[in-house]
Symmetry: none
Subunit: 270 residues, 2 copies
DNA sequence: AGTTGCAACAGGGA
DNA sequence: CTCCCTGTTGCAAC
């Protein structure tokens, strides 16, 4: 379940490692992860060159030259691995991209992942990515004014709003836990009830939390492009059921909020 | 709050009284009840002849010659009145239709009503009427097979389903009360839980209830085309809070079901 | 009491 | 909660 920090690091590593390489052998093991037929996928990708790689939310945008974009979403528990020339490929993968220099990239996901391909002209109509919200790591895009705009008029609870990729792109059920804790917000708090200070804190904490995790290379139990784990492991309350709250010592509770699990300090988060 | 019985009677009276008359002076006091601009409304209606009038759900369809349909919805607490030649018009009305013989028709609604006009070719695209469901007074249309079809796959409660005009057209929050009581159904009963006997009873009771009310000229507190009240007043449980259930004597309760009020016998309706 | 559209929410499926 | 789609429900608007 990579979220924005892991995806952003993968995209950065891909940009550095793959830029300029020419795709020779795209192979798709699992056709259902594609948005087009296998033959069309190969035709769209083969012999194209990697021009740029960037992250938006949980999606990796791979710009190919000429005029094509590869859109990758690792779903839950997915991995993206780089393989030097001559290295053995993993036993299981859903898609493999071979490059003209003998290196390769494999994508594997235990649940649902996407390997989508669109012509450059059609990128704006690709539903899953066209509707993505603010990018917290992009200071041009992630401004307080934009943040308040997306929140305006919303009546529901704050946690589902944070998880909705149309609002802010890249937060999943892992990072959202400490974001709520650090803002002292209960997951069920209704958006209209948030005061100005809470909104400002939330805005700031989202960026701080994701930037910090990104700088640490992402979660310790996720792998980067070279199979190396991240170094972020010190959750404050996330996944620490029964352990003491780092602020007040109260035991962290695991509760159900809507259809997701939440880890909260029942004292600090109201 | 006219529902199908009142609307059906109005349509019948209009058909008998107005067929063949030529519209000369359409006047709209309140433009917001129109679906087109006032000038276009007049152009579409003026000098046309009343060809036919029929009811569908809570809507009155007035076919004009040539090639136009007037669609009237009285909303909540609306009235439609016929005025003989020389008679004084009411003080307040939202729309007035004058005929070449000196007679007139006025429409007044205390809340939201619609006076829509469509070209014959566009009738099928008029959203509010195109999506109307079964017509309980039309035995060709209101068949048990069609009834079950509309119910198939629905998971929600029976009362909202009955009130949704897309399923059955013409039931409002007044007539629905006794329909549910006579079928012995609690308003919150889930559709998948209804057994075959209950479905058959409901199908039959809907028609019986609406036919009976129509034959009685509609509700005693609603007026017909000539300002005369209907003769239907003997609700079984509807609007009889605290009065005894006609079957078991238990006091009728007024409860909230979703966003509407329901009058039920807590003993008979499960 | 009427109708629509939207937002929130739940469930199923890929 | 990875994402979509559909249906249901509640709410505000006219």
């Amino acid at each position: 379940m990579p979220e924005l920090p892991e995806i952003a690091n993968l995209a950065g590593q891909m940009a550095a490692e793959l830029a300029g390489k020419r795709l020779t052998g795209p192979e798709v093991v699992q056709e259902k992860c594609l948005n087009v037929a296998g033959a069309e996928f190969r035709a769209l990708v083969e012999d194209k060159t990697i021009a740029a790689v960037r992250a938006r939310g949980k999606w990796i945008f791979v710009s190919l030259h000429p005029a094509t974009t590869l859109l990758l979403n690792l779903g839950m528990g997915g991995e993206l691995l780089y393989h030097p020339a001559g290295a053995a490929l993993p036993e299981k993968f859903q898609a493999r991209f071979a490059f003209s220099d003998g290196t390769a990239l494999t994508a594997a996901f235990s649940w649902f992942g996407y390997v989508h391909t669109v012509r450059a002209a059609d990128l704006a109509t690709h539903k899953m990515t066209a509707s993505l919200g603010l990018s917290p790591l992009d200071v041009q895009d992630y401004t307080y004014a934009n943040f308040l705009d997306r929140m305006r008029g919303r009546k529901g609870a704050i946690k589902p709003w944070l998880l909705d990729q149309k609002n802010i792109a890249g937060i999943g059920n892992v990072y959202v836990q400490d974001i709520l804790f650090r803002t002292r917000l209960h997951p069920d708090r209704k958006i209209p009830e948030l005061d100005e200070t809470e909104r400002q804190t939330l805005f700031r904490v989202i960026r701080e939390n994701l930037v910090q995790a990104t700088e640490l290379g992402g979660l310790v139990y996720e792998k980067d492009l070279y199979g190396q784990p991240g170094r972020f492991k010190d959750f404050l309350v996330g996944y620490r059921e029964g352990k003491p709250c780092p602020v007040c010592g109260t035991a962290v509770e695991k509760i159900r909020t809507g259809s997701t699990a939440s880890y909260i300090c029942p004292m600090c988060q109201q």
